[in-house]
Amino acid sequence: MRAYVVLALAGFRRYSTYRRAMVAGMATNVAFGLLRLAVLMAAVGQGDIAGYDVAAAATYVWLGQGLMAVVVLWGDGQLAERVRSGDVVVDLYRPWHLQMALFAEDVGRAGFAVLVRFGPPVVFGALFFPFRWPSVGVLPVFAVSVGLALAVSFGMRFLLNATTFWLLDNRGVQALYTALTWLLCGLAVPLAFFPDWALPIVWSTPFAAMLQAPVDVFLERGSPWPFLSRQAFWAAVVLALGHLVLNRAVRKVVVQGG
């Protein structure tokens, strides 16, 4: 267990070495937040939509901008690259559970992202725009929800990367994944904006657990427990699936390279 804690700390340190990338990412986050906000304001300014007024919409945008780099809404491709080059052999002969080890590193990375990618856009939004803070008691629940969102996202990215064992090049799958997350995570518009008939469908995917769930917990859109339980369900499913897929990959698939 200690090994995974140390790995998480290393993940934190690894990302903290890239200071300029961090500043650039922060600036991009805020700039895109302003764009998304402008579009959404044009809609919500006419009157509330699906329970979103101006303050809720602004909070949704800034939380989304902050969370997307913490949770990571696109494929990261790191493991995929190692599979393609064959470097994954090094990861495979270590006395660890590869999926757990990568998850630990990702938790470290996310911890660093909370400081530099989540903090600034949210503070910026809270200072300059109408912002809806939840009651204090919700904040720890929100933190748990973000943790679960990270677990689901990691599990999905791990599965996505694991396809490389069979496909060798999974960039097509990655592109498809990014298109899906953009729509189904609630990044393009809040999931509540979908037509009534589509709501049960979009809420039943693991994507909803990655962004919209923690945002809705923060905005106190109903009791947090249904959100959390759905997130926990998906986290367990995707992580377990990843474990099985990795075992199968190792037993059946050729590791590349001489």
């Binding site: 200690r2 090994a3 140390v6 790995l7 290393a10 340190r13 690894r14 070495t17 890239y18 064959g86 470097d87 052999v89 090094v90 495979l92 002969y93 270590r94 006395p95 660890w96 080890a101 190792v250 037993r251 050729v254 590791v255 390279g257 001489g258």
Partner: protein, 317 residues
């Protein structure tokens, strides 16, 4: 330490035939390979590209499951006990890195200590020894991505030794290194084998590695073992001839010496290359026969180059 019997590994390769049809073909990368390595040995595992060396290594470390056959490393079935085995062996891949690219070398070592659960004292003393012998001191705090290849390889070898492995598997450890770095690494490894008794299994294309490090050689080609034995014995077997190069004070005719199979004359007869079979005469007998006929200025006995030995082994198939 290593026990390999009738080891086979097949791959299915799909090739395109015509526009839509695909043909599946089974390729045997490793076929009926068998050898044993005892504790404390240093064995060179050589073969041309595509011979099945890396495939064997992957099966020995448990990354690849054999199609059939029997493998035991440190008494463990590698593909079943991969994690247990990983704690007891070290692996160095010359073309891959096990260090954390973005972190200082020191941090990688610290991470490995946690991953392998090495007691702090053991870790510190092993690290101290490696730092001293491999002269890692000046770049311990440099991020790995900024290290030169030679520095990084020294880091890689250290990383693979910090958990005190019984067996060290090296896959082309000297590839791309300059002569001095190669020599330094060889010296370290040979010392490791001699002093600590760490078993070495080494694949390489650089036959100087073998000459310096491995008393025993296993030669593989097209998935099967061509030869297995001490380097000297292999030499005697496939290259039974040695050459005595003699510089004379005055040109002389040395034809018809007993045991000599070929003569090459240079410098108007001042230098002569006498090829002889080691089974038929000794260098000493030949030298005294020459001295009886002419005044000898200088002489040297040339053993067949190891490259030559291996080439002949490949050609023998």
């Amino acid at each position: 330490m290593i026990e390999v019997r009738e080891l086979c590994r097949e791959f299915t390769v799909t090739t395109k035939v015509g526009r839509f049809r695909r043909e599946r073909r089974v390729v045997r990368a490793v076929e009926d390979v068998g050898f044993d390595v005892a504790a404390g040995e240093a064995v060179g595992y050589v073969g041309p590209n595509g011979a099945g060396k890396s495939t064997t290594i992957k099966m020995l470390t448990g990354i690849l499951v054999p199609t059939s056959g029997h493998v035991r490393v440190c008494g463990v079935d590698p593909s079943r006990g991969r994690r247990e085995l990983a704690r007891r062996i070290g692996v160095v891949f010359g073309q891959r890195s096990q260090l954390w690219w973005d972190l200082p070398l020191r941090d990688s070592f610290e991470l490995l200590r946690a991953i392998y659960r090495v007691p702090r004292g053991d870790h510190a003393s092993r690290l101290r020894e490696c730092v001293e012998l491999l002269e890692l001191g000046p770049f311990l705090d440099t991020p790995v991505r900024q290290l030169s290849l030679g520095q990084r390889m020294r880091g890689e070898v250290t990383a693979s030794l910090l958990h005190g492995p019984e067996l060290l598997v090296l896959d082309e450890p000297t590839i791309g290194l300059d002569l001095e770095s190669k020599e330094r690494l060889r010296e370290f490894l040979s010392d490791l084998n001699a002093r600590r008794g760490t078993t070495l299994l080494l694949t390489t294309h650089d036959l100087d590695d073998i000459e310096r490090l491995c008393p025993r050689l296993v030669v593989i080609d097209r998935g099967t073992v061509l030869a297995d034995g001490p380097l000297d014995a292999l030499r005697a077997e496939v290259a039974p001839e040695r050459v005595l190069v003699i510089d004379l004070e005055r040109p002389a005719d040395l034809d018809g010496l007993p045991g000599v199979t070929a003569t090459k004359v240079e410098l108007n007869g001042l230098r002569q290359h006498l090829t002889f079979r080691r089974a038929e005469t000794t260098a000493a007998a030949l030298i005294s026969a020459v001295a009886a006929r002419a005044e000898v200025h200088d002489l040297v006995v040339v053993e067949p180059e190891i490259d030559d030995v291996v080439r002949r082994l490949y050609a023998r198939r």
